[in-house]
Symmetry: C2
């Protein structure tokens, strides 16, 4: 049995796991789950991942990992090089601090802005099995949070090549997928975010994945 | 220099790091940041953690870790026993999958229900530097999500002693802190959640921390 990666090419979330698998050179088959037709909600897919989300990764023994954190921590263990979590305890702590921070201030802010505005996400204000109505106040809040997030990230990148120090890490993968997806909602680093713009150019190539 | 843990005794979020530090027997000093008087927003504390949140952990070299994930991954590296992230790659993957799932479906659902209802959280619908108004629709959504979460967790605990298999892990720490905090908003496992009730009783003692 081979490893099966449940993906959706244009979505920012599975792109994270896709970059991890590519960095680690982990052989796998890809199965595309078309979120635009609601394939993640099908009975068939929910047997694989009851959370009805991608990414998910079915291992050789049938175990299913179902969040980017799960896939990344597994991958770091079976294929330690290149390290994406940091090598020392302090590096690991900082990479995980920043990755979790980006989850909250980046991913969730983007999701608030995106899912509560675009017509395709009507009643899909949250991912998962249950439908939730769009909330216009949340969209507004999401845009405000994204502006803060760009500023924070720009500051952090003033003195380092990557989000955490000199090495490309999970924190860069989390951040670039959000930054790139922000184009959909016309949010982008401005003139005041020169460090962030430079970083985005630097990591875009490395984070480009076509499977 | 010693390790300094920035805590707030009654809040569910720093309780996670507090349990991790206790499990790993990591020596540290504790500094209480009184969230009820807004001490996390003070200039002084924002020099330590610009995100204005607890937990934060200042290491001996002055590095500050600032999210539960960051503190946990650092702790697992410097004090591997008892393992809280799992021993094999698959265990690590599953523990991180569940911990991330609990972040989204548990922590965020609780935060939606709690922060958008109680008067003390007026204009504090989100943690962090910026104020956001409460949104009644979010509270309603949060309560609905919490009901789903209790059901999911109960199912998961039907066949295993802990959230992931036979070992107490980060996933249990994440879950018990939410379950216990749910009492504040009068949400609790019901008769239909017998496995969850048994688990809550089982892990409450282990997760009890007074520093």
């Amino acid at each position: 049995m081979t490893i099966t990666f449940y993906d959706y090419a244009v979505a920012p979330s599975p792109r994270r796991a896709r970059i991890v698998l590519k960095e680690k050179n982990i052989a796998h088959e890809t199965q595309e789950i078309d979120l635009m037709t609601g394939a993640q909600l099908s009975k068939e897919f929910r047997k694989i991942n009851p959370n009805a989300t991608v990414p998910a990764l079915k291992l050789e023994d049938g175990t299913v990992l179902f969040e980017n954190w799960g896939i990344a921590l597994w991958a770091e263990e079976i294929a330690p090089n290149p390290s994406l979590l940091g090598k020392t305890a302090t590096e690991k702590g900082l990479v995980a601090s920043w990755t979790a921070k980006i989850d909250f201030h980046g991913t969730l802010a983007f999701a608030e802005a995106f899912r509560n505005t675009v017509p395709q996400m009507k009643d899909r204000a949250l991912p998962g099995v249950r439908n939730f109505a769009q909330v216009p106040e949340l969209a507004e809040r999401g845009f405000a949070r994204l502006r803060d997030f760009l500023g924070d990230l720009n500051c952090q990148l003033e003195n380092s090549e990557f989000v955490v120090g000199d090495n490309f890490s999970l924190a860069d993968i989390w951040a670039i997928t959000i930054l790139d997806a922000c184009r959909w909602i016309k949010v982008a680093p401005g003139e005041e975010h020169q460090h962030l713009q430079d970083w985005q150019e630097r990591v875009s190539m490395r984070a480009s994945v076509k499977l």
